[in-house]
């Protein structure tokens, strides 16, 4: 089971205000870039171990787009968890709802998430799902294989890496130094998505569920289930303030003036050079 999320596309100009803030209503949306590594790993496991790949996402109805898209890469099933009561979920509430979804589906050996999202950006949801399932976790995973009912994984640590072995079931969060998502195989894409045109088949492969369908406790989800709130936000003002600029003259003059100014301002450059 792969957990993927739809996030605002900050590369596209649409919906991004000139000051860098996001107009959520107008923003284009895309698959969270970190989740591409998670999806890739799942597709590899499908090839190597014959696993079935179910992609799940929690979000508004439109988030189904990324589930449909994932079929192009080789996913087998997609489930959208959508419910008005999920609005304003923090990571604890999100992880609760997603773990309820995983329990509802059942029989999951390997859960894979991205390291973090580009909008929530916490790297918390994965480990919090693992805690709810009482399963071990391997975060910052760069590569992994399943061997004899065990997982052997390589994990990034500061200044190096670690080789770990874990029992199943397990939750893995994939680092962004893992193998990138292989391109869609366009020749096969149309055939892969043929099922979309057959309502019965489609119903089997892409589902949309709400909290009641999966037997989740609504008081642990959404706003009421979230122990944190955003109290206040403010713009990052101009920092550092007045930049002393050198321009319009020869580069040599500019550089020499800068060096003199650094000396005058007592910026400690000498100590940094002389050690």
């Amino acid at each position: 089971m792969v957990f993927i999320k739809q996030v605002p596309d900050t590369k596209s100009k649409a919906g991004v205000n000139p000051d860098g803030t996001i107009d959520r209503a107008r923003a284009k949306r895309m698959l969270n870039p970190f989740d591409r590594f998670a999806l890739q790993k799942a597709i590899e496991l499908k090839k190597e171990n014959g696993a079935e790949v179910t992609c799940v996402t929690m979000g508004p109805p439109k988030a189904q787009e990324i589930l449909i898209d994932a079929f192009d890469y080789g996913a087998d099933y997609g489930i959208l968890l959508t419910d008005k009561r999920l609005a304003a979920s923090d990571t604890l509430a999100t992880a609760y709802a997603l773990s309820a979804l995983a329990k509802y589906v059942g029989g999951v050996d390997i859960m894979i998430t991205g390291l973090q999202t580009t909008d929530g950006d916490t790297a918390q949801v994965g480990p919090q799902i693992a805690e709810r399932h009482n399963v071990p976790q391997i975060t910052y995973c760069e590569s992994m294989k399943v061997d004899n009912g065990k997982v052997i994984a390589r994990r990034v640590v500061e200044g190096g890496h670690q080789k770990l072995e874990s029992t199943l079931p397990v939750l893995i969060t994939m680092a962004n130094s893992a193998a990138p998502l292989a391109p869609k195989r366009f020749a096969e894409v149309a055939a892969v998505k043929e099922f979309l045109h057959h309502p019965e088949e489609r119903e089997k492969r892409v589902k949309s569920v709400n909290l009641d369908d999966i037997g989740a406790d609504a008081s642990k989800a959404g706003l009421v289930g979230s122990p944190t709130v955003v109290g206040k936000t403010w713009k990052l003002g101009e920092l550092g303030g007045s930049c002393v600029m050198y321009q319009g003259r020869s580069a040599l003059d500019e550089v020499n003036e800068l060096a003199e100014q650094l000396q005058k301002d007592d910026r400690g450059i000498g100590e940094l050079i002389n050690g």
């Binding site: 605002p8 860098g20 304003a88 990571t91 604890l92 992880a95 950006d121 916490t122 790297a123 918390q124 949801v125 994965g126 480990p127 919090q128 805690e131 709810r132 071990p136 976790q137 975060t139 910052y140 052997i152 500061e158 190096g160 890496h161 080789k163 770990l164 072995e165 029992t167 962004n176 122990p227 955003v230 109290g231 206040k232 936000t233 403010w234 713009k235 990052l236 101009e238 550092g240 303030g241 930049c243 002393v244 600029m245 050198y246 321009q247 580069a251 500019e254 550089v255 800068l258 060096a259 003199e260 000396q263 910026r267 400690g268 450059i269 000498g270 940094l272 050079i273 002389n274 050690g275």
Partner: protein
């Protein structure tokens, strides 16, 4: 609500070496504790750690809760999780605030503990403070109220040029992870005294479902961006990968304690490994001197380096955002500027003979 407990830091040690982030967190905790009128506790977990417990006291902790067990020799999630739960049980009432480093350990362990306790956790904070909060939102009547002396966990709201203050006054402990290199340690004082409390732990078999087969750390190869005094960074404006050699390293060679940094676009272009990236999805740094070559200064880069003491930017576009927050800016072609800058630095500042 009265704050009965201490502000708490979960220490991070690797093979008996306390990590710098631990002392940064203790520094932040001291500031918070002063505002609350309480002390600072540290939790120390590992094997053979008795000799280092005192260092936490010297670094500003008032007491240390220690779980020392041979089965904790190397970090794995579940045994360390069990050790923290053992300490919390030993103490009885959860402390008001628990802080951990936003490292590969802290970001692995903190969410696990927070989910167990069903409490809030704010990731990757860049500022911490204490203050009051009045919750008026009607959507959840149970939350309405006025809360005094609660944790302000402040982080850039990424992908947007905003900072956000995250609050979780309803549950104890209030938890946060803080980025490496942004909080300030207090000076070490080896005359400080404090209590060291040994806490026993009993593991369960399923705590050992994950085993470390091997750990490879090459500290010499590690890109130590967070501790370098000088960072010379290259961006997409280098134009070619070779720019890191001909311009960035060239200029960095002037400074003995320097490390090469980069923007994400240079990393994405494949010019330099991700370990060098500064910014939102890279490292947060605050060296004495940061030199940005061909970097536009996008908000995601800025949040990672704007606390540097001196920022010098070289960019050929006078309107590049980086000139909005650098201290000194040269408008020009970096390939023309860098050799002149290197020469000027050496001529003006170098006192010891070349090659010595």
């Amino acid at each position: 609500m009265a704050n009965t407990g201490n502000v708490t830091v979960v220490a991070e040690q690797l093979q008996g070496d306390l990590q710098a982030v631990t002392f940064e967190l203790i520094g932040a905790a001291r500031m918070l504790a002063k505002k609350l009128g309480v002390g600072v506790s540290a939790y120390l977990i590992g094997s053979n750690i008795e000799p280092i417990a005192e260092k936490l006291i010297h670094g500003g902790a008032d007491d240390v809760y220690m779980v020392n067990d041979t089965q904790l020799e190397e970090y794995t999630t579940l045994p360390y999780r069990r050790a923290i739960l053992a300490i919390l049980k030993h103490i009885g009432e959860p402390p008001p605030i628990i802080l951990m480093g936003a490292t590969t350990i802290g970001r692995d362990l903190a969410p696990r503990v927070a989910a167990y306790l069903e409490t809030g956790l704010t990731a990757d904070c860049t500022e911490l403070d204490i203050g009051d909060y009045q919750h008026k939102g009607k959507a959840d009547p149970l939350k309405v109220g006025t809360f005094n002396n609660i944790l302000y966990a402040i982080r850039p709201s990424f992908g947007e040029s905003l900072k956000a203050r995250i609050l979780g006054p309803w549950k104890k402990p209030q938890m946060a992870t803080a980025r490496i290199g942004v909080m300030e340690a207090v000076p070490t004082d080896s005359s400080r005294k404090g209590e060291i409390i040994k806490v026993p732990v009993s593991f369960e078999e399923h705590d050992f479902r994950t085993k470390v087969i091997e750990t490879v750390r090459d500290v010499s190869k590690a890109v130590n961006l967070t501790e370098a005094k000088v960072i010379v960074s290259g961006g997409f404006g280098l134009g070619v990968m070779e720019g890191f050699e001909t311009a960035v390293k060239e200029l960095a060679s002037v400074f003995p304690d320097s490390v090469i940094g980069s923007s994400r676009k240079a990393v994405d272009a494949g010019w330099i490994p991700q370990a060098h990236q500064v910014g939102q999805t890279g490292k947060t740094v605050r060296p004495n001197l940061y030199i940005a070559l061909g970097i536009s200064g996008a908000i995601q880069h800025r949040v990672g380096m704007s606390n540097s003491k001196t920022i010098i930017a070289v960019n050929k576009d006078p309107d590049a955002p980086i000139f909005g927050f650098a201290h000194y800016g040269i408008v020009g072609d970096l390939y023309e500027v860098v050799p002149l800058l290197k020469k000027a630095f050496l001529e003006k500042f170098k006192t010891k003979g070349a090659g010595v």
